[in-house]
Assembly symmetry: C2
Homo-oligomer: 318 residues x 2
Protein backbone atom coordinates (compact mmCIF):
# COMPACT_ATOMS: atom_id res chain seq x y z
CA UNK A 1 0.00 0.00 0.00
CA UNK A 2 1.01 3.62 -0.39
CA UNK A 3 1.02 6.19 2.38
CA UNK A 4 -1.85 8.69 2.35
CA UNK A 5 -0.37 12.16 1.96
CA UNK A 6 -3.49 14.35 1.80
CA UNK A 7 -6.78 14.34 3.69
CA UNK A 8 -8.12 10.77 3.30
CA UNK A 9 -10.87 10.34 0.71
CA UNK A 10 -13.93 8.11 1.05
CA UNK A 11 -12.13 5.57 -1.14
CA UNK A 12 -9.05 5.74 1.11
CA UNK A 13 -11.16 4.92 4.14
CA UNK A 14 -12.91 2.05 2.37
CA UNK A 15 -9.62 0.64 1.08
CA UNK A 16 -7.93 0.91 4.48
CA UNK A 17 -10.87 -0.81 6.17
CA UNK A 18 -10.52 -3.79 3.82
CA UNK A 19 -6.76 -3.87 4.34
CA UNK A 20 -6.83 -3.86 8.16
CA UNK A 21 -9.86 -6.17 8.48
CA UNK A 22 -7.82 -9.41 8.89
CA UNK A 23 -5.85 -7.90 11.79
CA UNK A 24 -8.62 -6.29 13.86
CA UNK A 25 -11.85 -7.41 15.52
CA UNK A 26 -15.18 -6.25 14.15
CA UNK A 27 -16.41 -5.13 17.56
CA UNK A 28 -20.06 -5.39 18.60
CA UNK A 29 -22.53 -2.50 18.76
CA UNK A 30 -24.38 -2.72 22.08
CA UNK A 31 -27.38 -0.92 23.50
CA UNK A 32 -29.46 -1.08 26.67
CA UNK A 33 -33.17 -0.41 27.01
CA UNK A 34 -32.80 0.82 30.57
CA UNK A 35 -30.01 3.18 29.58
CA UNK A 36 -32.07 4.46 26.64
CA UNK A 37 -34.95 5.15 29.03
CA UNK A 38 -32.61 7.27 31.17
CA UNK A 39 -31.13 9.09 28.17
CA UNK A 40 -34.44 9.72 26.42
CA UNK A 41 -32.98 8.58 23.10
CA UNK A 42 -31.55 5.45 21.51
CA UNK A 43 -27.82 5.15 22.14
CA UNK A 44 -25.67 2.69 20.19
CA UNK A 45 -22.25 1.98 21.63
CA UNK A 46 -19.50 0.84 19.25
CA UNK A 47 -17.47 -1.22 21.70
CA UNK A 48 -13.80 -0.70 20.90
CA UNK A 49 -13.03 -1.76 24.47
CA UNK A 50 -13.37 -5.25 22.94
CA UNK A 51 -10.88 -4.38 20.19
CA UNK A 52 -7.43 -6.02 20.16
CA UNK A 53 -5.19 -4.40 22.83
CA UNK A 54 -8.46 -3.13 24.33
CA UNK A 55 -8.71 0.09 22.29
CA UNK A 56 -9.50 1.56 18.84
CA UNK A 57 -5.81 2.48 18.51
CA UNK A 58 -5.25 -0.95 16.95
CA UNK A 59 -7.08 0.25 13.82
CA UNK A 60 -4.85 3.24 13.13
CA UNK A 61 -1.60 1.52 14.04
CA UNK A 62 -2.40 -1.40 11.72
CA UNK A 63 -3.26 1.00 8.92
CA UNK A 64 0.04 2.84 9.35
CA UNK A 65 2.09 -0.36 9.39
CA UNK A 66 0.44 -1.65 6.22
CA UNK A 67 1.36 1.60 4.45
CA UNK A 68 5.09 1.01 4.91
CA UNK A 69 7.32 0.04 1.99
CA UNK A 70 9.19 -3.26 2.04
CA UNK A 71 12.38 -1.40 2.97
CA UNK A 72 10.71 0.49 5.78
CA UNK A 73 9.21 -2.72 7.15
CA UNK A 74 12.68 -4.20 7.53
CA UNK A 75 13.74 -1.38 9.85
CA UNK A 76 10.55 -1.65 11.90
CA UNK A 77 8.42 0.98 13.62
CA UNK A 78 8.75 3.17 16.67
CA UNK A 79 6.70 5.49 18.83
CA UNK A 80 6.56 7.02 22.27
CA UNK A 81 3.52 6.40 24.42
CA UNK A 82 2.62 5.24 27.88
CA UNK A 83 -0.81 4.09 26.84
CA UNK A 84 -2.94 2.27 24.29
CA UNK A 85 -0.98 3.48 21.24
CA UNK A 86 2.17 1.78 22.56
CA UNK A 87 0.40 -1.55 22.76
CA UNK A 88 -1.25 -1.07 19.38
CA UNK A 89 2.07 -0.33 17.65
CA UNK A 90 3.72 -3.28 19.38
CA UNK A 91 0.98 -5.73 18.42
CA UNK A 92 0.66 -4.41 14.85
CA UNK A 93 4.39 -4.93 14.39
CA UNK A 94 4.19 -8.42 15.84
CA UNK A 95 1.31 -9.39 13.51
CA UNK A 96 3.36 -8.16 10.53
CA UNK A 97 6.53 -9.81 11.75
CA UNK A 98 8.54 -6.59 11.97
CA UNK A 99 10.43 -5.04 14.90
CA UNK A 100 8.88 -2.38 17.17
CA UNK A 101 10.69 0.11 19.41
CA UNK A 102 8.60 1.80 22.08
CA UNK A 103 9.75 4.72 24.22
CA UNK A 104 7.88 4.61 27.52
CA UNK A 105 8.28 7.07 30.40
CA UNK A 106 9.60 5.82 33.75
CA UNK A 107 6.20 6.39 35.35
CA UNK A 108 4.28 4.17 32.87
CA UNK A 109 2.24 1.55 34.75
CA UNK A 110 4.15 -1.74 34.97
CA UNK A 111 1.14 -3.61 33.59
CA UNK A 112 1.35 -1.55 30.37
CA UNK A 113 5.09 -2.15 30.09
CA UNK A 114 4.47 -5.86 30.55
CA UNK A 115 1.82 -5.85 27.81
CA UNK A 116 4.16 -4.10 25.36
CA UNK A 117 6.97 -6.53 26.19
CA UNK A 118 4.51 -9.39 25.82
CA UNK A 119 4.02 -8.36 22.19
CA UNK A 120 7.76 -8.67 21.67
CA UNK A 121 8.58 -4.97 21.34
CA UNK A 122 11.84 -3.44 22.54
CA UNK A 123 11.22 -0.82 25.24
CA UNK A 124 13.36 2.28 25.83
CA UNK A 125 12.73 4.03 29.12
CA UNK A 126 12.77 7.82 29.10
CA UNK A 127 12.10 10.59 31.61
CA UNK A 128 8.48 11.52 32.22
CA UNK A 129 8.34 14.84 30.38
CA UNK A 130 7.07 14.89 26.83
CA UNK A 131 10.39 16.46 25.80
CA UNK A 132 12.25 13.54 27.44
CA UNK A 133 10.16 11.11 25.46
CA UNK A 134 10.68 12.97 22.19
CA UNK A 135 14.44 13.21 22.71
CA UNK A 136 14.70 9.51 23.42
CA UNK A 137 12.57 8.72 20.38
CA UNK A 138 14.87 10.83 18.17
CA UNK A 139 17.82 8.75 19.33
CA UNK A 140 15.96 5.51 18.73
CA UNK A 141 14.92 6.57 15.24
CA UNK A 142 18.50 7.50 14.35
CA UNK A 143 19.88 4.25 15.68
CA UNK A 144 17.28 1.91 14.17
CA UNK A 145 16.07 3.74 11.07
CA UNK A 146 12.60 2.70 12.18
CA UNK A 147 9.51 4.59 10.94
CA UNK A 148 7.83 6.79 13.53
CA UNK A 149 4.12 6.02 13.87
CA UNK A 150 2.57 9.18 15.28
CA UNK A 151 -0.53 8.41 17.37
CA UNK A 152 -2.75 10.81 15.42
CA UNK A 153 -0.92 13.35 13.21
CA UNK A 154 -0.79 10.77 10.41
CA UNK A 155 -3.34 10.35 7.61
CA UNK A 156 -3.00 6.57 7.54
CA UNK A 157 -3.74 6.49 11.26
CA UNK A 158 -6.73 8.83 10.84
CA UNK A 159 -8.12 6.69 8.00
CA UNK A 160 -7.69 3.58 10.15
CA UNK A 161 -9.57 5.12 13.09
CA UNK A 162 -12.37 6.09 10.67
CA UNK A 163 -13.18 2.41 10.25
CA UNK A 164 -14.83 2.31 13.69
CA UNK A 165 -17.46 4.85 12.60
CA UNK A 166 -17.82 3.00 9.29
CA UNK A 167 -18.65 -0.28 11.03
CA UNK A 168 -21.05 1.47 13.43
CA UNK A 169 -22.84 3.16 10.53
CA UNK A 170 -23.03 -0.11 8.58
CA UNK A 171 -24.77 -1.70 11.55
CA UNK A 172 -27.05 1.25 12.40
CA UNK A 173 -27.60 3.00 9.04
CA UNK A 174 -30.23 5.42 10.38
CA UNK A 175 -28.07 7.15 12.98
CA UNK A 176 -28.99 10.81 13.41
CA UNK A 177 -25.96 11.83 15.49
CA UNK A 178 -22.50 10.43 16.12
CA UNK A 179 -20.33 11.51 19.05
CA UNK A 180 -16.71 10.67 19.77
CA UNK A 181 -14.37 12.02 22.42
CA UNK A 182 -11.55 14.29 21.31
CA UNK A 183 -7.97 14.12 22.63
CA UNK A 184 -5.29 14.35 19.94
CA UNK A 185 -8.13 14.13 17.45
CA UNK A 186 -7.25 11.01 15.44
CA UNK A 187 -10.48 9.18 16.21
CA UNK A 188 -12.56 12.36 16.02
CA UNK A 189 -11.08 13.37 12.65
CA UNK A 190 -11.59 9.89 11.21
CA UNK A 191 -15.16 9.71 12.52
CA UNK A 192 -16.04 13.17 11.16
CA UNK A 193 -14.47 12.50 7.76
CA UNK A 194 -16.23 9.18 7.33
CA UNK A 195 -19.66 10.50 8.32
CA UNK A 196 -19.24 13.54 6.09
CA UNK A 197 -18.66 11.21 3.12
CA UNK A 198 -21.16 8.48 4.00
CA UNK A 199 -24.07 10.66 5.14
CA UNK A 200 -23.55 14.39 5.66
CA UNK A 201 -27.00 14.63 7.29
CA UNK A 202 -25.69 12.87 10.40
CA UNK A 203 -24.70 15.41 13.04
CA UNK A 204 -21.08 14.93 14.11
CA UNK A 205 -20.25 16.09 17.64
CA UNK A 206 -17.14 15.94 19.78
CA UNK A 207 -17.14 15.51 23.55
CA UNK A 208 -14.33 16.90 25.66
CA UNK A 209 -13.61 17.25 29.39
CA UNK A 210 -13.91 20.84 30.70
CA UNK A 211 -10.53 20.31 32.36
CA UNK A 212 -8.89 19.54 28.98
CA UNK A 213 -10.88 21.84 26.70
CA UNK A 214 -8.09 22.64 24.25
CA UNK A 215 -10.09 21.41 21.24
CA UNK A 216 -13.10 23.49 22.34
CA UNK A 217 -10.92 26.60 22.60
CA UNK A 218 -9.12 25.81 19.33
CA UNK A 219 -12.49 25.45 17.61
CA UNK A 220 -13.42 28.93 18.83
CA UNK A 221 -10.11 30.70 18.19
CA UNK A 222 -9.42 29.01 14.86
CA UNK A 223 -5.89 28.00 15.86
CA UNK A 224 -4.51 25.10 17.88
CA UNK A 225 -4.63 25.94 21.58
CA UNK A 226 -2.55 23.90 24.03
CA UNK A 227 -3.92 21.71 26.84
CA UNK A 228 -3.41 23.74 30.01
CA UNK A 229 -4.07 21.08 32.66
CA UNK A 230 -3.56 17.34 32.80
CA UNK A 231 -5.78 16.48 35.72
CA UNK A 232 -8.95 15.24 34.03
CA UNK A 233 -9.86 11.66 34.92
CA UNK A 234 -10.27 11.08 31.17
CA UNK A 235 -6.57 10.35 30.78
CA UNK A 236 -6.89 9.49 27.10
CA UNK A 237 -7.98 13.05 26.31
CA UNK A 238 -5.13 15.09 27.80
CA UNK A 239 -3.51 15.58 24.39
CA UNK A 240 -3.46 18.67 22.14
CA UNK A 241 -4.73 18.57 18.55
CA UNK A 242 -2.28 18.43 15.64
CA UNK A 243 -2.33 20.24 12.29
CA UNK A 244 -3.80 17.31 10.41
CA UNK A 245 -6.51 16.49 12.95
CA UNK A 246 -7.45 20.12 13.62
CA UNK A 247 -7.96 20.91 9.92
CA UNK A 248 -10.38 18.00 9.54
CA UNK A 249 -12.19 18.63 12.83
CA UNK A 250 -12.60 22.34 12.06
CA UNK A 251 -14.35 21.51 8.80
CA UNK A 252 -16.39 18.46 9.66
CA UNK A 253 -17.38 18.60 13.34
CA UNK A 254 -20.51 20.60 14.08
CA UNK A 255 -19.76 21.41 17.71
CA UNK A 256 -17.43 20.51 20.55
CA UNK A 257 -19.28 20.09 23.85
CA UNK A 258 -17.50 20.04 27.19
CA UNK A 259 -18.52 18.09 30.29
CA UNK A 260 -17.48 18.27 33.93
CA UNK A 261 -15.53 15.62 35.81
CA UNK A 262 -18.67 14.75 37.81
CA UNK A 263 -20.62 14.28 34.58
CA UNK A 264 -17.87 12.01 33.22
CA UNK A 265 -17.82 9.81 36.32
CA UNK A 266 -21.65 9.60 36.45
CA UNK A 267 -21.82 8.56 32.78
CA UNK A 268 -19.01 6.06 33.30
CA UNK A 269 -20.82 4.49 36.24
CA UNK A 270 -24.04 4.29 34.24
CA UNK A 271 -22.27 2.46 31.40
CA UNK A 272 -20.62 0.00 33.80
CA UNK A 273 -23.87 -0.64 35.66
CA UNK A 274 -26.29 -0.80 32.76
CA UNK A 275 -24.14 -2.08 29.90
CA UNK A 276 -21.98 -4.38 32.10
CA UNK A 277 -18.86 -3.40 30.23
CA UNK A 278 -15.50 -2.15 31.48
CA UNK A 279 -14.60 1.16 29.83
CA UNK A 280 -12.01 3.87 30.34
CA UNK A 281 -13.16 7.24 31.71
CA UNK A 282 -12.47 8.86 28.30
CA UNK A 283 -15.22 6.75 26.72
CA UNK A 284 -17.93 8.10 28.93
CA UNK A 285 -17.51 11.69 27.73
CA UNK A 286 -19.93 11.28 24.76
CA UNK A 287 -22.68 9.79 26.96
CA UNK A 288 -22.07 12.62 29.45
CA UNK A 289 -22.77 15.02 26.55
CA UNK A 290 -26.09 13.29 25.84
CA UNK A 291 -27.15 13.34 29.50
CA UNK A 292 -26.18 17.01 29.80
CA UNK A 293 -28.41 18.02 26.88
CA UNK A 294 -31.27 15.52 26.92
CA UNK A 295 -33.73 17.82 25.14
CA UNK A 296 -31.38 18.19 22.20
CA UNK A 297 -31.08 14.45 21.63
CA UNK A 298 -34.66 13.47 22.49
CA UNK A 299 -35.89 10.58 20.34
CA UNK A 300 -32.69 10.53 18.26
CA UNK A 301 -30.47 7.60 17.31
CA UNK A 302 -27.10 8.48 18.74
CA UNK A 303 -23.95 6.50 17.91
CA UNK A 304 -21.09 6.65 20.39
CA UNK A 305 -17.58 5.28 19.95
CA UNK A 306 -16.43 3.54 23.13
CA UNK A 307 -12.71 4.08 22.77
CA UNK A 308 -11.19 1.50 25.11
CA UNK A 309 -11.31 -0.56 28.26
CA UNK A 310 -7.79 -0.38 29.67
CA UNK A 311 -8.46 0.93 33.14
CA UNK A 312 -6.63 0.39 36.42
CA UNK A 313 -9.15 -1.55 38.53
CA UNK A 314 -7.29 -0.48 41.64
CA UNK A 315 -8.02 3.20 40.93
CA UNK A 316 -11.71 3.39 40.06
CA UNK A 317 -13.61 6.61 40.82
CA UNK A 318 -16.58 4.78 42.41
CA UNK B 1 -48.19 -24.33 28.25
CA UNK B 2 -48.34 -27.03 30.91
CA UNK B 3 -46.11 -27.14 33.98
CA UNK B 4 -43.28 -29.65 33.92
CA UNK B 5 -43.83 -32.11 36.78
CA UNK B 6 -40.95 -34.55 36.29
CA UNK B 7 -37.28 -34.12 35.38
CA UNK B 8 -37.32 -32.07 32.14
CA UNK B 9 -36.74 -34.05 28.93
CA UNK B 10 -34.67 -32.91 25.94
CA UNK B 11 -37.96 -32.01 24.24
CA UNK B 12 -39.05 -29.98 27.28
CA UNK B 13 -35.85 -27.94 27.13
CA UNK B 14 -36.17 -27.38 23.39
CA UNK B 15 -39.83 -26.37 23.70
CA UNK B 16 -39.15 -24.01 26.61
CA UNK B 17 -36.31 -22.37 24.72
CA UNK B 18 -38.65 -21.61 21.81
CA UNK B 19 -41.31 -20.31 24.17
CA UNK B 20 -39.08 -17.91 26.13
CA UNK B 21 -37.09 -16.73 23.11
CA UNK B 22 -39.20 -13.60 22.42
CA UNK B 23 -38.75 -12.41 26.02
CA UNK B 24 -35.02 -12.94 26.52
CA UNK B 25 -31.80 -11.82 24.84
CA UNK B 26 -29.68 -14.31 22.96
CA UNK B 27 -26.51 -13.28 24.74
CA UNK B 28 -23.09 -13.29 23.04
CA UNK B 29 -20.37 -15.88 23.55
CA UNK B 30 -17.07 -14.05 24.07
CA UNK B 31 -13.48 -15.19 24.24
CA UNK B 32 -10.08 -13.56 24.60
CA UNK B 33 -6.81 -14.69 23.09
CA UNK B 34 -4.76 -13.26 25.93
CA UNK B 35 -6.95 -14.97 28.50
CA UNK B 36 -6.71 -18.26 26.61
CA UNK B 37 -2.91 -17.93 26.65
CA UNK B 38 -3.03 -17.57 30.44
CA UNK B 39 -5.47 -20.47 30.89
CA UNK B 40 -3.71 -22.82 28.48
CA UNK B 41 -7.03 -23.75 26.87
CA UNK B 42 -9.80 -22.12 24.86
CA UNK B 43 -12.45 -20.62 27.14
CA UNK B 44 -15.85 -19.55 25.79
CA UNK B 45 -17.89 -17.29 28.04
CA UNK B 46 -21.67 -17.31 27.65
CA UNK B 47 -22.37 -13.76 28.77
CA UNK B 48 -25.58 -13.78 30.79
CA UNK B 49 -24.40 -10.56 32.41
CA UNK B 50 -25.84 -9.05 29.19
CA UNK B 51 -29.17 -10.85 29.74
CA UNK B 52 -32.29 -8.84 30.66
CA UNK B 53 -32.14 -7.82 34.36
CA UNK B 54 -28.40 -8.57 34.07
CA UNK B 55 -28.61 -12.28 34.91
CA UNK B 56 -29.58 -15.74 33.60
CA UNK B 57 -32.46 -15.77 36.13
CA UNK B 58 -34.60 -14.11 33.45
CA UNK B 59 -34.67 -17.41 31.54
CA UNK B 60 -36.09 -19.52 34.36
CA UNK B 61 -38.55 -16.91 35.59
CA UNK B 62 -39.94 -16.42 32.07
CA UNK B 63 -40.27 -20.17 31.64
CA UNK B 64 -42.19 -20.47 34.93
CA UNK B 65 -44.54 -17.59 34.10
CA UNK B 66 -45.36 -19.05 30.68
CA UNK B 67 -46.30 -22.36 32.35
CA UNK B 68 -49.11 -20.74 34.36
CA UNK B 69 -52.76 -21.37 33.51
CA UNK B 70 -55.01 -18.46 32.51
CA UNK B 71 -56.55 -18.49 35.99
CA UNK B 72 -53.17 -18.48 37.70
CA UNK B 73 -51.98 -15.61 35.52
CA UNK B 74 -54.85 -13.46 36.75
CA UNK B 75 -53.68 -13.80 40.34
CA UNK B 76 -50.08 -13.06 39.42
CA UNK B 77 -46.79 -14.40 40.74
CA UNK B 78 -44.78 -13.99 43.92
CA UNK B 79 -41.39 -14.78 45.35
CA UNK B 80 -38.95 -13.76 48.06
CA UNK B 81 -35.49 -12.65 47.02
CA UNK B 82 -33.10 -9.81 47.55
CA UNK B 83 -31.26 -10.48 44.33
CA UNK B 84 -31.48 -11.25 40.65
CA UNK B 85 -34.46 -13.61 40.95
CA UNK B 86 -36.59 -10.78 42.34
CA UNK B 87 -35.88 -8.62 39.32
CA UNK B 88 -36.40 -11.53 36.92
CA UNK B 89 -39.82 -12.37 38.40
CA UNK B 90 -40.83 -8.71 38.37
CA UNK B 91 -39.81 -8.17 34.74
CA UNK B 92 -41.28 -11.50 33.55
CA UNK B 93 -44.60 -10.51 35.10
CA UNK B 94 -44.46 -7.09 33.53
CA UNK B 95 -43.76 -8.53 30.06
CA UNK B 96 -46.78 -10.85 30.46
CA UNK B 97 -48.96 -8.09 31.87
CA UNK B 98 -49.65 -9.86 35.17
CA UNK B 99 -49.08 -8.69 38.76
CA UNK B 100 -45.93 -9.55 40.74
CA UNK B 101 -45.47 -9.53 44.53
CA UNK B 102 -41.91 -9.58 45.78
CA UNK B 103 -40.90 -10.08 49.41
CA UNK B 104 -37.59 -8.33 50.00
CA UNK B 105 -35.64 -8.20 53.27
CA UNK B 106 -35.07 -4.86 54.98
CA UNK B 107 -31.36 -5.06 54.22
CA UNK B 108 -31.80 -5.46 50.46
CA UNK B 109 -29.78 -2.82 48.59
CA UNK B 110 -31.93 0.18 47.70
CA UNK B 111 -30.80 -0.03 44.07
CA UNK B 112 -32.30 -3.54 43.83
CA UNK B 113 -35.57 -2.39 45.43
CA UNK B 114 -35.71 0.48 42.96
CA UNK B 115 -35.16 -1.91 40.04
CA UNK B 116 -37.98 -4.20 41.19
CA UNK B 117 -40.29 -1.24 41.69
CA UNK B 118 -39.27 0.06 38.29
CA UNK B 119 -40.70 -3.13 36.76
CA UNK B 120 -44.03 -2.34 38.43
CA UNK B 121 -43.95 -5.08 41.09
CA UNK B 122 -45.45 -4.67 44.56
CA UNK B 123 -42.79 -5.02 47.25
CA UNK B 124 -43.41 -6.39 50.76
CA UNK B 125 -40.61 -5.74 53.22
CA UNK B 126 -39.74 -8.54 55.66
CA UNK B 127 -37.13 -9.13 58.32
CA UNK B 128 -33.73 -10.29 57.16
CA UNK B 129 -33.84 -13.94 58.24
CA UNK B 130 -34.85 -16.52 55.68
CA UNK B 131 -37.68 -17.54 58.05
CA UNK B 132 -38.92 -13.91 58.12
CA UNK B 133 -38.98 -13.89 54.35
CA UNK B 134 -40.79 -17.22 54.12
CA UNK B 135 -43.41 -16.17 56.69
CA UNK B 136 -44.09 -12.94 54.85
CA UNK B 137 -44.33 -14.80 51.56
CA UNK B 138 -46.90 -17.21 53.07
CA UNK B 139 -49.06 -14.23 54.03
CA UNK B 140 -48.72 -12.67 50.59
CA UNK B 141 -49.62 -15.93 48.84
CA UNK B 142 -52.73 -16.33 51.04
CA UNK B 143 -53.83 -12.77 50.44
CA UNK B 144 -53.23 -12.64 46.69
CA UNK B 145 -53.60 -16.26 45.55
CA UNK B 146 -50.48 -15.58 43.49
CA UNK B 147 -48.30 -18.48 42.27
CA UNK B 148 -44.97 -18.87 44.06
CA UNK B 149 -42.05 -18.95 41.63
CA UNK B 150 -39.26 -20.76 43.48
CA UNK B 151 -35.82 -19.57 42.31
CA UNK B 152 -34.61 -23.12 41.55
CA UNK B 153 -36.70 -25.97 43.07
CA UNK B 154 -39.02 -25.83 40.04
CA UNK B 155 -38.71 -27.90 36.86
CA UNK B 156 -39.93 -25.07 34.62
CA UNK B 157 -37.24 -22.82 36.08
CA UNK B 158 -34.57 -25.52 35.62
CA UNK B 159 -35.63 -26.09 32.00
CA UNK B 160 -35.48 -22.34 31.40
CA UNK B 161 -31.96 -22.04 32.82
CA UNK B 162 -30.91 -24.95 30.57
CA UNK B 163 -31.40 -22.70 27.55
CA UNK B 164 -28.16 -20.83 28.34
CA UNK B 165 -26.09 -24.01 27.89
CA UNK B 166 -28.15 -24.83 24.79
CA UNK B 167 -27.29 -21.52 23.14
CA UNK B 168 -23.63 -21.83 24.13
CA UNK B 169 -23.45 -25.34 22.67
CA UNK B 170 -25.20 -24.25 19.47
CA UNK B 171 -22.53 -21.60 19.01
CA UNK B 172 -19.53 -23.77 20.02
CA UNK B 173 -20.60 -27.31 19.06
CA UNK B 174 -17.21 -28.86 19.79
CA UNK B 175 -16.99 -27.97 23.48
CA UNK B 176 -15.15 -30.59 25.50
CA UNK B 177 -16.10 -29.32 28.96
CA UNK B 178 -18.80 -27.07 30.39
CA UNK B 179 -18.57 -25.48 33.83
CA UNK B 180 -21.22 -23.56 35.74
CA UNK B 181 -21.22 -22.31 39.31
CA UNK B 182 -23.53 -24.03 41.79
CA UNK B 183 -25.62 -22.24 44.43
CA UNK B 184 -29.21 -23.47 44.69
CA UNK B 185 -28.45 -25.55 41.63
CA UNK B 186 -31.03 -24.33 39.11
CA UNK B 187 -28.49 -23.25 36.50
CA UNK B 188 -26.20 -26.21 37.23
CA UNK B 189 -29.05 -28.73 36.97
CA UNK B 190 -30.30 -27.21 33.71
CA UNK B 191 -26.79 -27.09 32.26
CA UNK B 192 -26.03 -30.70 33.22
CA UNK B 193 -29.37 -32.00 31.93
CA UNK B 194 -29.04 -30.25 28.60
CA UNK B 195 -25.45 -31.40 27.97
CA UNK B 196 -26.34 -34.95 28.99
CA UNK B 197 -29.04 -34.98 26.30
CA UNK B 198 -27.22 -33.01 23.61
CA UNK B 199 -23.77 -34.58 23.91
CA UNK B 200 -22.98 -36.88 26.84
CA UNK B 201 -19.30 -36.82 25.87
CA UNK B 202 -18.97 -33.25 27.13
CA UNK B 203 -17.62 -33.21 30.69
CA UNK B 204 -19.98 -31.33 33.02
CA UNK B 205 -18.34 -29.74 36.04
CA UNK B 206 -19.60 -27.54 38.86
CA UNK B 207 -17.57 -24.83 40.55
CA UNK B 208 -18.24 -23.84 44.14
CA UNK B 209 -16.59 -21.56 46.71
CA UNK B 210 -14.76 -23.44 49.50
CA UNK B 211 -16.58 -21.20 51.95
CA UNK B 212 -19.99 -22.39 50.65
CA UNK B 213 -19.16 -25.99 49.78
CA UNK B 214 -22.56 -27.48 50.60
CA UNK B 215 -23.00 -28.96 47.11
CA UNK B 216 -19.50 -30.47 47.29
CA UNK B 217 -20.35 -32.09 50.63
CA UNK B 218 -23.81 -33.17 49.45
CA UNK B 219 -22.21 -34.79 46.41
CA UNK B 220 -19.97 -36.80 48.72
CA UNK B 221 -22.49 -37.73 51.41
CA UNK B 222 -25.34 -38.44 48.98
CA UNK B 223 -27.81 -36.22 50.89
CA UNK B 224 -28.43 -32.50 50.89
CA UNK B 225 -26.02 -30.76 53.28
CA UNK B 226 -26.76 -27.22 54.45
CA UNK B 227 -24.63 -24.17 53.74
CA UNK B 228 -22.74 -23.51 56.97
CA UNK B 229 -21.33 -20.04 56.31
CA UNK B 230 -22.52 -17.07 54.28
CA UNK B 231 -19.32 -15.12 53.98
CA UNK B 232 -18.08 -16.01 50.51
CA UNK B 233 -17.72 -13.04 48.19
CA UNK B 234 -19.69 -15.09 45.62
CA UNK B 235 -22.99 -13.93 47.07
CA UNK B 236 -25.06 -15.71 44.44
CA UNK B 237 -23.78 -19.09 45.66
CA UNK B 238 -24.68 -18.97 49.34
CA UNK B 239 -27.79 -21.10 48.81
CA UNK B 240 -28.36 -24.79 49.62
CA UNK B 241 -29.41 -27.31 46.97
CA UNK B 242 -33.03 -28.49 46.76
CA UNK B 243 -34.48 -31.95 46.15
CA UNK B 244 -35.09 -31.32 42.46
CA UNK B 245 -31.72 -29.77 41.72
CA UNK B 246 -29.72 -32.22 43.83
CA UNK B 247 -31.24 -35.26 42.11
CA UNK B 248 -30.26 -33.94 38.70
CA UNK B 249 -26.80 -32.75 39.77
CA UNK B 250 -26.02 -36.07 41.49
CA UNK B 251 -26.72 -37.94 38.25
CA UNK B 252 -25.35 -35.62 35.59
CA UNK B 253 -22.45 -33.63 37.04
CA UNK B 254 -19.07 -35.37 36.92
CA UNK B 255 -17.40 -33.49 39.74
CA UNK B 256 -17.83 -30.47 41.98
CA UNK B 257 -14.60 -28.51 42.38
CA UNK B 258 -14.11 -25.92 45.11
CA UNK B 259 -12.02 -22.76 44.90
CA UNK B 260 -10.70 -20.33 47.51
CA UNK B 261 -11.80 -16.72 47.91
CA UNK B 262 -8.42 -15.55 46.62
CA UNK B 263 -8.83 -17.73 43.53
CA UNK B 264 -12.31 -16.27 42.95
CA UNK B 265 -11.10 -12.67 43.19
CA UNK B 266 -8.08 -13.34 40.95
CA UNK B 267 -10.28 -14.94 38.28
CA UNK B 268 -12.81 -12.10 38.58
CA UNK B 269 -10.08 -9.53 38.07
CA UNK B 270 -8.74 -11.42 35.07
CA UNK B 271 -12.18 -11.45 33.43
CA UNK B 272 -12.71 -7.72 34.07
CA UNK B 273 -9.24 -6.84 32.78
CA UNK B 274 -9.01 -9.14 29.78
CA UNK B 275 -12.65 -9.52 28.70
CA UNK B 276 -13.63 -5.91 29.60
CA UNK B 277 -16.93 -7.09 31.04
CA UNK B 278 -18.57 -6.41 34.41
CA UNK B 279 -19.41 -9.68 36.16
CA UNK B 280 -20.52 -10.74 39.62
CA UNK B 281 -18.03 -12.61 41.81
CA UNK B 282 -20.12 -15.80 41.46
CA UNK B 283 -19.38 -15.91 37.72
CA UNK B 284 -15.66 -16.13 38.18
CA UNK B 285 -15.81 -19.44 40.08
CA UNK B 286 -15.69 -21.60 36.89
CA UNK B 287 -12.63 -19.75 35.53
CA UNK B 288 -11.02 -20.12 38.96
CA UNK B 289 -11.53 -23.87 38.58
CA UNK B 290 -9.75 -23.84 35.20
CA UNK B 291 -6.83 -21.81 36.53
CA UNK B 292 -6.52 -24.08 39.59
CA UNK B 293 -6.18 -27.21 37.43
CA UNK B 294 -4.51 -26.03 34.24
CA UNK B 295 -3.05 -29.43 33.37
CA UNK B 296 -6.48 -31.02 33.42
CA UNK B 297 -7.95 -28.54 30.91
CA UNK B 298 -4.87 -28.15 28.69
CA UNK B 299 -5.83 -27.67 25.03
CA UNK B 300 -9.54 -28.19 25.74
CA UNK B 301 -12.53 -26.11 24.65
CA UNK B 302 -14.17 -25.06 27.88
CA UNK B 303 -17.59 -23.39 28.00
CA UNK B 304 -18.37 -21.24 31.02
CA UNK B 305 -21.71 -19.68 31.93
CA UNK B 306 -21.23 -16.10 33.12
CA UNK B 307 -24.23 -15.84 35.42
CA UNK B 308 -24.72 -12.11 35.84
CA UNK B 309 -23.31 -8.63 36.14
CA UNK B 310 -25.23 -7.02 38.98
CA UNK B 311 -22.43 -5.94 41.25
CA UNK B 312 -22.15 -3.02 43.65
CA UNK B 313 -19.42 -0.86 42.08
CA UNK B 314 -18.86 0.76 45.44
CA UNK B 315 -17.81 -2.56 46.99
CA UNK B 316 -15.36 -4.13 44.57
CA UNK B 317 -12.65 -6.46 45.91
CA UNK B 318 -9.85 -4.82 43.91
Amino acid sequence: MKKITTIPTFEDIQRIHEAIRPYIHRTPVLSSQSLNAIAGCEVFFKCENFQKVGAFKMRGATSAVLALSAEERECGIATHSSGNHAQAVALSAKLQGIPAYIVMPENAPSVKRAAVEGYGATIFTSGNLITDREEMLEKVLKKTNASFIHPFDNYDVIAGQASAAKELHEEIPDLTTIIAPVGGGGLMAGTALYMNYANPNVTVLAGEPELADDAFRSFQSGKIEPVLRIDTIADGLRTTLSDKTFTIIKNHVEEIITVSEAEIVAAMRLIWERMKIVIEPSCSVPLAVVLQQKERFKGQKVGIIITGGNVDLGKLPF
